[in-house]
């Protein structure tokens, strides 16, 4: 069974249960073995001084270079962008190896409730790893692969894949429940 690595690549220390929470959701969604991996490096070259944000695309390249074989999800707390958008919650190589997700835009100012942020992080983690498994955005209401352009979109989604998306995952990925 293929392993998915969850790698904290943020600036501050991760919230205690965050990585475990992500790991459980990924295991349930993809029926895969998921490990929290403690790599030391950070994608320093992904910082864009002009935008004062981090390029998610450069982080993906760095993850592919830095992580051993298998799928890897980088979890961070820095603000991510792609050149054409003001920000992204995360990015993934569709059908590739790497995905990245950030808590920066999931925790809105004035909403310090950690549980809500953790739920959103878990959903977006499953979403980005879903792209790594080759899934595109899904129109089924509530499916975690629905596009998320705002936190409202994230909150509207449930944490799991719809039946159609589960069916599209190659053989090793089957939801356990």
């Amino acid at each position: 069974m293929e392993e998915i690595r969850v790698w904290w690549i943020g600036e501050r220390h991760p919230v205690g249960r965050a990585l475990d929470h992500v790991r459980l959701h990924l295991e349930r969604a993809f029926g895969a073995q998921v490990a929290v991996w403690e790599g030391m490096g950070r994608p320093e070259d992904a910082y864009d001084a002009r935008r004062k944000q981090w390029s998610s695309t450069r982080i993906l390249s760095w993850l592919v270079r830095s992580a051993p074989d298998g799928k890897v999800l980088g979890v961070t707390d820095v603000d991510l962008f792609i050149p054409i958008l003001t920000f992204v919650f995360g990015e993934a190589q569709v059908g590739g190896r790497a995905a990245v997700v950030s808590t920066a835009r999931l925790a809105e100012p004035g909403l310090p409730d950690e549980r809500i942020v953790l739920e959103r992080l878990a959903k977006e983690s499953v979403h980005e790893v879903g792209h790594v498994f080759g899934l595109l955005h899904c129109e089924t209401p509530g499916c975690v692969m629905g596009r998320s352009s705002s936190v409202r979109d994230v909150d509207r989604k449930r944490g799991h894949l719809c039946a159609a998306c589960r069916g599209r995952i190659p053989s090793q990925g089957r939801e356990a429940t």
Binding site: T57, I82, P83, I84, T86, V88, V94, L136, R147, S149
Partner: protein, 456 residues
């Protein structure tokens, strides 16, 4: 709604923009291609169809506005969204004036991009659906120049569509004015002979000798007055369609001649010995009951079967009154076009049109509307304009006497003139005294209403 049916072209000179925007849209399921500059974008516009074009305003060489103009010219149905790094209102306004659907300032807010793409894709889908629906409706209710939504006529259209491409002889039956020649022309236009001639001959209008010469032609000196060789209509229709109208009126001798031509497509000119061979498709029509004529012995049975290969029976208008509004719209569009007028009928006029029995069928309806378009003062035709002032139900069901017709006509003109007797007299081309006498005689008021038998 998945974006799979919406093809997107991203035009930007920056590779990183093309890649990141393309990647984002692909995850949304849009089939995305990109072009790095204006000329290559124009090339893609010439060769492929696009639904949405995301177009950078500032590019070296050919800029976004120039590409926009080309896009509007080459693919006016495609939606163009301008992308700009400089939020200058001027250029955005200019782009919108040139036909851009919207514009986005780089970098885009993800939600703004998502919503805009969804909106534009939905509009595009709706436009496509509308076109498809309109085409379908037109096809359903139309066979070339004929319009109808009545089930009986639909069956005729279906059969005509099937029969048109074949070379089979077609017999069109129907009362006069039901559109037999229009149907014949439509079949010709839908056939492989469309590029060839369509020749119509009315068999009832000519004597036997003249009709024979008209159909088959004659050699010089064939009969008195045949000063030169003349080709007949069978020859004129070579490679095309010959429409024999009123075929039920053909004399027994010519019936036999027609039978021979239909059997081997060969004939002699009148007074000639040369055998002439033609490639002609024959469409015959009649308002007579040919079967009864066969039974009564006035029409050859063998010719009847030669003609009756595929029979299309056009129902009279009174049996498909649901078509009247559709036909009215159709004819008014045609009548209004050269006059640059948008003609319509009033509610009262439509009620009168629907109540009328139309013994002259579609032709009578077209004539009534044509007359209305000429005499109406505005663009809305009233009952009087159509010559239908008599209240529904008042029209006698059988033939009218001359007096009845005169009374109805005077009443219609008086109603049209709204009590202005002088104007009515002018329209009727009689003097006022004569008109007053007739009004008295028919018991008509100044407004054309029945004033009672004694008159006023």
């Amino acid at each position: 709604m998945s974006g799979a049916d919406t093809r997107v072209l991203v035009v930007d000179d920056e590779e990183i923009v093309r890649e990141s925007l393309g990647g984002w849209l692909e995850k949304d399921g849009y089939p995305v291609s990109s072009a790095p500059d204006g000329p290559s974008a124009v090339e893609r516009l010439k060769t492929e169809r696009w639904n949405i074009i995301l177009l950078d305003l500032k590019m070296p060489g050919m800029d976004g506005l120039q590409v926009l103009e080309e896009a509007r010219r080459l693919q006016p149905d495609a939606a163009v969204i301008m992308m700009t790094a400089y939020a200058t209102v001027d250029t955005a306004v200019k782009a919108m004036k040139l036909g851009a659907t919207d514009y986005l300032v780089k970098p885009f807010d993800p939600e703004e991009l998502t919503l805009l793409m969804q909106d534009v894709a939905a509009q595009q889908r709706l436009a496509r659906d509308n076109v498809a629906l309109r085409t379908e409706l037109e096809q359903q209710h139309r066979f070339r120049d004929m319009v109808s939504k009545s089930p009986a006529m639909q069956r005729v259209f279906d059969l005509a569509r099937l029969a048109a491409p074949s070379n089979s002889t077609i017999l069109i039956l129907g009362e006069s004015g039901t559109g037999k020649e229009v149907m014949a022309r439509a079949i010709h236009a839908e056939s492989g002979r469309a590029a060839g001639p369509f020749v119509a001959v009315s068999c009832a209008a000519l004597t036997e000798t003249l009709l024979e010469s008209e159909l088959f032609g004659h050699e010089k000196g064939a009969f008195t007055g045949a000063v030169a060789r003349r080709k007949g209509q069978f020859e004129a229709a070579h490679g095309g369609t010959l429409f024999l109208d009123e075929v039920g009126d053909v004399t027994p001798k010519l019936q036999l001649d027609l039978l021979r031509v239909l059997e081997d497509r060969r004939f002699h000119r009148v007074g000639g010995s040369e055998l002439i061979e033609v490639d002609v498709r024959v469409i015959a029509a009649t308002n007579r009951d040919l079967r009864a004529a066969v039974d009564g012995g006035s029409f050859r049975e063998d010719l009847f079967y030669r003609l009756d290969v595929i029979a299309l029976t056009l129902p009279p208008l009174r049996e498909r009154k649901e078509d009247i509004p559709l036909l009215v719209e159709h004819f008014l569009e045609r009548l209004g076009e050269p006059l640059k007028r948008r003609l319509e009928v009033s509610h009262e006029a439509m009620a009168a049109l629907l109540a009328h029995d139309w013994p002259g069928n579609v032709r009578e309806l077209r004539n009534a509307l044509e007359r209305g378009a000429v005499v109406a003062h505005g663009d809305v035709l009233g009952p009087a304009d159509l010559g239908l002032a008599a209240a529904p139900g008042e029209a006698p069901s059988g033939p009218s006497t001359l007096d009845e017709v005169e009374k109805r006509h005077i009443a219609a003109v008086l109603a049209h003139s709204a009590g202005n007797v002088s104007q009515a007299a002018r329209l009727l081309a009689i003097d006022r005294v004569t008109l007053y006498n007739k009004m008295k005689r028919y018991g008509l008021s100044r407004r054309g209403e029945d004033a009672g038998p004694s008159g006023t």
